[in-house]
Every structure is written in C-alpha cells, then in structure tokens.
Symmetry: C2
Subunit: 400 residues, 2 copies
C-alpha cells in the first residue's frame, strides 16, 4: 500500500512499547496497583464549580482559539511561582504544554537529529525512554548515589568520548528531585557541579521536576534552572503530580528565543484554554496551599506505610527512603530476579514494575534485581495488604 519502506523503518526506530500502566477501572478491588503513577483518588480536587464558572464567566476565552504559547495570565503565574523558587524568569521564558511529556518531545525536536547521543541516568524515567528512542538517539548512561546524579562520572564519560573523537551528547536529562524511579534527590553541591559542567561543555540540561512540591521533609535544594546563569537549562514542570494527571497541562521554562522556536514545533494549536483557566483559578485560590499540604501529608503517610511494610515483609530487600515523590525503589538480593517477581506478583493481583524496565540500554548486563513500587494510588490498607501478599510471592522466589 505504501510506496516505500518508510513505515517499516520508522517502526524499527520506535521502541518496543512499554507496558502501559494498568487503569484502575480494569480491575476488581482485590487487585492492588503499585505500578502506576496515578494520583490518590482521595486527593483529586473538586474542580466542578471552577469549570462551570470558566465556561460561563469566560466562555469566549475558553472556547475560542488561544495563544500557542499559553494563556498570558497562566504564564505570569508560573513565572511568579518559579521566581519565588529562586529563578529569574519573565513570562516570555514560559511555554504552556500538554503535560511535561510534550515538553520532553518538543526539546527533542528542537535539539536532536537521528544518531545524536543524550545523557540519562541508569535507571531513568521509563516513559521518557520511548520518547527519546523516537528520535533515534544513542544513550549515555550515568549512575546515581544517595546524593543523586553522579556528576564526576559524567565528566569522566565526556572526557572519554572526547578522547575517542566522538561527538558530545546533545542534552542531559535528569529528575533532580525524588527521582523516578530511584527517589534520589541531588544535593546542592552536585547541582552546582552539574550546571557548571554542562555549561562548560556546552550541553543543555533538561530538568524534569514533576514532584518538586510533593516533598515530605527537609528543605528544598535549588532548582537547576535557578542555578543557570547562561540559559543552558530547560526546566519542565507539570500540574499532573500536584493537582491531577488528567488535566494534561505542564510547562517548559527556557530562553525566550528557544521558546519561540518550540512554539513553532508545538503545532497542535495551543493547549486548551479551558483547562488553563481552570488550573489558574485553582492555583490562585485559597484552596491551593491547603491542597498542597493535604497532598504532602497524604503521600508522606503512604510512603511511611510502604517503607514499614517492605521492611516487615521483604526483609531481604534494600529500600531507599525518598523524601518526596510517588515511588520507592527496591534493591533485591542479587539472585532475585525483579522481572520474575513482577510477573509472579502480577499473577497474584499485585502490579508493580520490574526495575529492568527503567534502563535505557537493553541487553544482558542490565541489573535485574530491582523493582519500583508506586505508593501514590493505593490506600494505607491496600499498601499493608498488597505488600504482605508481595512478601509471600517474594519468599516463593527468593527461597527465604
């Protein structure tokens, strides 16, 4: 039907599909979903009255075409919000996107050609992997420790590439806060070092920061964007993790000249002005600070619940305790296969994601002894019940 092998070629460039997270509606109550980054249903805000008002008081605004860069009032609010967090932005630095994922995609379109190398952590956010793969990139993987991204390892990898005469990577992608999947947060020292290294080598940083306000304890570390003095950092934000994933509104903060180019690439006609108005009215309402506190308290309680349950039910696993975010990352004893545990647990109605899925590289040398558990969607009772059942599956595999 088609006159060339274009489709077949594209199909090869595209990655194998990641397993989609399970939708809660697919399952009965006995099934427990630790696999998804869904919001806690109990925390979804009541936005009906705001939507009603947007569609009456602002009917023309929210139902007509809107600016491709996002509604001015929302960009101003976002600018203030980031400046209160240490940045020095104007509304021209902000592009409203359909979630942070569209931001990743637009940055790829802006910066990448097939065959380019990019830097990611190993492991990294697994939904970003197929987006990057769509661009036919080569992955340069860098490790993390308790202080986050290993900047010294990146410097060594860049030196090694330079010594081999290979092109430098075209961007560095990272989640500095409450990393998905590891939960690690970069220290201030590492952040300063990463921004300096990236600037010195001329490699843009993509700072993906969906969980920044979902912090349970401790003080904020500086945003990479706040440390950026040369316009070398693209910051990605979203309302998905703080308000509701279904809104599909995020933003990119970057140099105005780059934003202008991204608007041209964001060719879908602008994000929905209706959703932008609803978010704006919620974000500037008195309910918003209270909502954030409620979100932080609830997810903190769930984090505590899952950590205690894992320590009780899977004593052989090492758990990194995150100071925020939606996930815990478990390191199992070397002989325990996380893929097998995920498969067997799924058969027992406990869904989670094997750690191997979070590595951009493929092949035999990916560590197999990790799993990621999301604690965002499940209640405390489900966490206790689900981890107890997971413990039984674990023991049947680990032979403990």
């Amino acid at each position: 039907m088609f006159n060339d092998d274009r489709l077949a070629r594209r199909a090869k460039t595209l990655s194998a599909r990641m397993p989609a997270p399970h939708f809660p509606s697919e399952f009965g109550e006995e099934t427990i979903l630790f696999d998804s980054g869904f919001a806690a249903p109990q925390l979804l805000p009541a936005l009906g009255a705001l939507a009603q008002r947007a569609l009456t008081d602002h009917r023309e605004e929210v139902l007509q075409y809107a600016s491709g860069r996002g509604q001015p009032y929302l960009r101003e609010w976002l600018c203030d919000w980031m400046n209160a967090d240490g940045c020095a932005l104007t509304p021209d630095h902000i592009l409203v996107t359909n979630g942070a994922k569209q931001g990743i995609d637009l940055i790829c379109r802006l910066l990448l050609d097939e065959g380019d190398a990019i830097v990611v952590t190993a492991p990294t956010y697994f939904t970003a992997i197929p987006i990057f793969r769509n661009y036919g990139v080569e992955f340069v993987e860098v490790g993390q420790d308790a202080h986050g991204f290993d900047v010294a390892a990146l410097a060594a990898a860049l030196d090694a590439r330079a010594a081999e005469g290979r092109a430098l990577p075209k961007l560095i992608y990272n989640i500095p806060e409450f990393h998905n999947p590891t939960g690690a947060t970069m220290s201030a020292e590492r952040r300063v070092a990463l921004v300096a290294l990236a600037e010195a080598r001329g490699i843009p940083i993509v700072e993906d920061s969906p969980y920044r306000r979902v912090r349970f304890e401790g003080a904020d570390e500086p945003l990479l964007k706040a440390l950026d003095r040369s316009g070398n950092v693209f910051h990605l934000g979203t309302f998905s993790k703080l308000v509701a994933p279904g809104l599909r509104i995020g933003w990119v903060a970057a140099e105005p000249a780059l934003i202008a180019r991204m608007i041209q690439l964001k060719s879908e006609g602008g994000s929905s002005p209706l959703i932008q108005r609803i978010i704006y009215e919620f974000a500037r309402s008195a309910d918003f600070p209270a909502h954030i506190e409620r979100v932080q308290a609830a997810y903190c309680e769930r984090r505590d619940g899952i950590v205690a349950a894992v320590e009780r039910e899977l004593p052989g696993a090492r758990i990194a305790i995150p100071a925020g975010g939606y996930y815990v990352w478990l390191s199992l004893p070397p002989h325990v296969d996380g893929d097998m545990l995920a498969a067997k647990a799924g058969e027992a109605g406990i869904h989670l994601i094997a750690g191997s899925r979070f590595f951009a590289s493929t092949g035999a040398d990916i560590p197999r002894n990790h799993i990621r558990l999301a604690f965002s969607f499940t209640t405390l009772d489900q966490i206790a019940n689900g981890i107890a059942r997971l413990g039984a599956v674990y023991r049947s595999i680990a032979g403990e």
Copy 2:
C-alpha cells in the same frame, strides 16, 4: 551557549511565522475581524453543566491519566459517526488528537523525512504550511477549479516526476469540503479519481475535513475515507469548527497498524479525558443535532450576507460562493494587489488575509490578486459595515 549549530539549522528549516490571527480581545468594537477562523461567539454552546457533571460524576475518570489513543466511548462514538457517513471503521481505526492540527503533525512524523516531496493545493490551508515546513519538505502544488482538486493535473505532475527519475511525493494533502481558503468542494467523480490515482501510485492521502457538517445546501459528497478500500487514506476530523475551537479535540481515522504507530509518536500522554468526556456528553445529547442546525443556519446567513456585500461593494472582485465552511475567496482584477489591500484594510481596522499567504511556494510568481475573508466570527451588521469600509479601501487602490 550550545555546542553546535543545531539551533541555527533548525531555525532555517522552520518557516517564517505566519501572522497569527488576531485575538478579538486585542481590539475595540470598531475593528472588524475577517481574518480569523474563530467561531461565532453566539454559537458557542453552554457546556458548563456538562463540565460540572464530568468533574463530579466522573471525577476519577477525567482527572486521572487516560488512554493514549483516546477514551473508548469517544472513539466508539466517532466510529459510529463516520460509519453513518459511509465509512467502515472500528474504534481501533480512531486516534483522538489535540485538534486536527496534531493529526497533521503526527502523520508527518510517521511518513516524512527531510527532503521528501508532498502534494498540496495552490492555494492551501495556511496553518498547515509551517507544519509541513518543519519537516523540510518540497511542495508539489496542484490547482483546483469549481469541482475541486485537479486530479488530472496531479497525474500529469506525477508522470513528469517519474520521467525525470524523481521520487514520488510521500503524501497528498487536501481539504475536499469547503476548502480553506477557496471554498471549493470536490465532486464525487474527482474524489473517486483521486482515491484511485493515489492508490495506484501508492501515495497516502490526508483528507482534512473540519467543515464537513458546516454545509449550507446540497448533498454530501462521499468522504475520501469512505471511498478508500485499501487503507490509503488518513482522515482528519475535529470538533473545532462544529462545537468550539478551544476544546482542542480532533481525531485521525486510519489503519489500526498506523494508528498504533501514531500513538507512540503522540507522546504527550494522551488528550485530556476531561475535555473528551465533555464533548462526548454534548455529542450524544439531544442538544447536538439542534446545535448543528443552528450552526448551519447562522453561518449560511453570514455567507449570504458577505456574498451580497462583496457583490455590492467590490463589484470588480470575483467571489466563489462556497456551499459551506467559514470563508470566501476573492479574485481581484489582475492589477489589484491583495497584499496591499490587506495591509491598507488593516490600517482601516478591517482585518483579512492576503491570498498570497496561502501558497506553499514562495517567490515572485505567486498570484497576488486574491484575498480570503472569514465570515464565521462577524455578525451580519459587522459584515455589512466591514465590507462597506473594505470597499472604500479597495476603490482607493483599484482606482475604480
């Protein structure tokens, strides 16, 4: 700041920005906007109660992550809607997109590489031009007459390319109904011929059909997708022109294997489930058929008003009377410069778009004696007043 000339190169690939349509809020009442494809404010439906209900009765559905291909109930509704219009689709043929424009972009990503040729009409939809340019395409332009797309001219152009040993175009883009900007509608005979030619040469067709239900008179011609027996047609639909542009929901209908690939490329995390629920509830309500009739009657009245006013005020212009859609296309006497008319009219507070903007090619041989007038946004009074003022500007230029 960046370590190569990537940005500069991209900037070259990107087209000069088209002038954005003016937003009504920018102007006072004396300014008349014939430039935009905005909806008539009077026709924007009351969706507040539906939104309120979506956010209460379906709160979890509309605020959590949703399927990347679109909500199942909306895909089923769209499938039924298109099958009632002569197609033979299943819900797996449907991908919900952020407006039809995202559909164009996804098809480009699926099919095109830099340097590929594509077929467009001359003139063509001007917002599609920069989307195509982002992919670095070569344009093959084909004319139209009162029966729409000139299929014989395309066949000749393809033969000429083959004789020169040049690669065939990778897609054929057209708006078969109420073409933007010309208003022309393809006859059934031409449609059959185009589908057969494209299939014989193995070139996919992109059928962009935003105005299909905005028909004022006469019977529907068959959709190209309904004539397609081999899966060679991508159909693009949208709710922008029938319901409201700000919703940003459209769809692609294509072979399931192609839809599956487009889902991978549509990496922004799925279109908003809130908007999809609102649209679905409106589309299946008793209000929807009445809304469509109201839309058709109101735009028909405006079409009649602008045709009469143009015949009265610009007797030197030839106007092609469209049987539907949002626009009329004026052919001015050869010595009248449409760019100058658009500029002078804009200074006089009458905004419209010069015909030269609708040609994918650039350079001296683009016809300069056309303008496009949108009649969708303006009231009957504004049409009478605005065309009278346009007539005065016209006479000052044309010397009539």
